[in-house]
């Protein structure tokens, strides 16, 4: 099967991911279509982490010995790699967190506290109806804690942000605009530059959830005009072929400097006296305690791997596979895709409904054929409610996905229909 846009070295890339060789019960080969949930890990990430634990393990920044120096160097080198991956204007603007949720909560919490950017009564926080729960709940909490008002963009029937009332929603009372770059449920790619420009024009801060964008889209923050560049961008390590337990918050230096510390503890201080303390500058100000060291180093290897393959090529591959999948899914009777139907303007997560079969039952039958998908609300209950559905089935591809895996999915969906006697 040749499909325009596929990674030319797909066979070699698949060999980089040992889990793809796995057979499941009954000898079924694994067809992994749940990469928007978590991606699989290439050998180089696994080896890098094992090597660090076997040979270089020590705490960072505080150990006055050779291993400590090696560990610190590897950890800070990982920060450099992440900074390069997203084109961060400054490497110290990259903060390691435990995941994207913690990164978003870091911002939403510290915005409630006394400081330059403190949100208060009369202020408005604007989000969207297509957010993952982790980019809804922290802002609801911020609104509750400060007396600010939470508002949101609705969605059009084809799964885009409804920008018809953007002028009214983003106004002089708006303190924060937070939205996802790519929807984890609908696949929609949002106009980051346009929304950021509008928000900046009224003096609002912009926080972008890039959990689904970072794995698929080339991101070059430094190349964006300052008016279009968000103030903060969050993503998680495990969706960019890195390990769990590590996330990233990138923030514009001036923005991060104006936020009070989030967690207090070791490593985030300048000096501590009983009467009070002064704090380190970024990034350490937001990295209290021993960080997830080997996870950060694993993430460094992961983004280096992706950069080596090339994010432009990965994006083209995702688009090709997504287009092929949308075509295949269209042939299944009673199947409705939620979200944009044009592969060029969407990400690689495709949620769908199948008339007469509940998503759990679909996922169960697919699993019996070795096909891993996600079923449920995908932590996006409001977006499901917007389309009048309680849950959906979601397939999501990545750089290692082959067209034949999409064929297997389509065939298994036909089998599911016959299993539940829908014909």
């Amino acid at each position: 099967m040749t499909l325009e846009g596929l990674l030319p070295e797909l066979t070699v890339i698949r060999k980089d991911f040992p889990i793809l060789e796995r057979a499941l019960a009954g000898g079924m080969p694994l067809v992994y279509l749940d990469s928007a949930n978590t991606s699989q890990k290439p050998q180089v990430v696994i080896d890098t982490m094992v090597d660090h634990l076997e040979r270089h393990n020590a705490n960072i920044a505080r150990a006055m010995h050779q291993l400590g120096a090696e560990s610190t160097e590897a950890f800070e080198a990982a920060r450099d790699k992440v900074a390069a991956f997203i084109g961060a204007p400054e490497r110290d603007e990259v903060i390691f967190t435990k995941n994207a949720s913690e990164a978003l909560n870091l911002v939403a919490n510290t915005l409630a506290w006394r400081g330059e950017h403190q949100v208060g009564e009369g202020d408005e926080i604007v989000i969207t109806e297509m957010e993952h729960h982790s980019n809804i709940v922290p802002w609801q909490l911020l609104a509750e804690r400060t007396g600010a008002t939470l508002r949101w963009f609705g969605l059009t029937d084809d799964g885009q942000l409804d920008l018809s009332n953007a002028h009214e929603l983003i106004n002089e009372r708006t303190a924060v605009v937070a939205f996802t770059w790519v929807s984890n449920m609908l696949g929609t790619i949002n106009p980051v530059a346009e929304l950021t420009r509008r928000a900046h024009a009224v003096g609002a801060r912009v926080v972008v959830d890039a959990s689904q964008a970072a794995p698929q889209l080339p991101i070059d923050l430094a190349a964006m005009p300052e008016t279009d560049r968000p103030d903060a961008v969050a993503f998680t390590g495990h969706k960019v072929v890195g390990p769990t337990g590590i996330g990233v918050l990138w923030g514009r230096r001036a923005f991060l400097d104006g936020l009070p510390p989030f967690l207090g503890g070791g490593e985030m201080i300048e000096t501590v006296r009983m009467e009070g303390s002064t704090y380190a500058g970024i990034p350490h100000k937001f990295e209290a305690g021993t960080p997830p060291i080997v996870e950060a180093i694993g993430l460094g290897a992961a983004v280096e791997y992706l950069s080596h393959v090339g994010m432009d090529a990965i994006h083209a591959h995702e688009q090709a596979i997504t287009g092929y999948a949308l075509e295949g899914l269209r042939t299944v009777t009673g199947l409705t895709v939620l979200g944009p139907l044009d592969a060029a303007s969407r990400g690689g997560a495709i949620s769908f409904e199948l008339d007469g079969v509940h998503p759990h039952d679909i996922a169960q039958v697919l699993d019996s054929r070795g096909i891993a998908v996600r079923a449920g609300h995908h932590c996006a209950k409001p977006a499901h409610a917007r389309f009048g559905v309680q849950s959906s089935t979601r397939m999501s591809s990545y750089l290692y996905t082959e067209p034949r895996e999409i064929d297997a999915l389509v065939e298994a969906l036909e089998y599911t229909r016959s299993y539940f006697k829908l014909d």
Binding site: G26, M28, V357, H358, S368, G370, Q390, Y419
Partner: protein, 160 residues
């Protein structure tokens, strides 16, 4: 057809379960009730609104009706339908015993031999007990029923 757990898909989706799923018994909310509860499975979003109506019988309180509205997978829907068949008309004490029997079956990881005399169509769920991810689906309405019944009894303690 085997699954990731090496088990038979047909053991999970027995015809009895699919029949109850397609034609659920007792579905819909009816007016007569002393307690109503709403239970949700937060991991998957399945939900049930369930009402319990108790009446005085010769030998104590009787489950006069269980009415429900539910959204969810075939397992959770069929389980509510089987619950309706098994518990309506029984004395509260006996219904609680059946509840316990079903709970034991579902939590037995596939090692419990179900008693058809007690569980009737409920024995079809023996296969579900082998799928840990689906046990909660089967138990959703049963947990809701126990909660509602406890509330109904607590609400009219003067009668008991």
């Amino acid at each position: 057809m085997t699954t990731a757990n090496g088990q038979d898909l047909d053991a999970l989706y027995q015809d009895i379960i699919l029949d109850h799923y397609k034609n659920p018994h007792g579905k819909g909310l009816r007016d007569a009730h002393e307690a109503e509860v709403h239970h949700v499975n937060p991991t998957c979003g399945d939900e049930v609104t369930l009402r319990v109506h108790l009446e005085d019988g010769a030998a104590g309180r009787v489950v006069a009706d269980v009415s429900y509205d539910a959204l969810g997978c075939s397992i959770s829907q069929a389980s509510a339908s089987v619950l309706y068949d098994l518990l309506v008309g029984k004395g509260v004490d006996e219904a609680m015993e059946i509840h316990q029997e079903f709970l034991t079956l579902m939590q037995g990881k596939g090692t419990v031999e179900p008693d058809e005399d007690v569980l009737e169509d409920g024995i079809a769920f023996a296969g579900v007990a082998k799928f840990p991810a689906r046990v909660k689906c089967a138990l959703l309405s049963w947990m809701a029923w126990k909660d509602a019944t406890a509330q109904a009894i607590a609400g009219d303690g003067d009668k008991s």
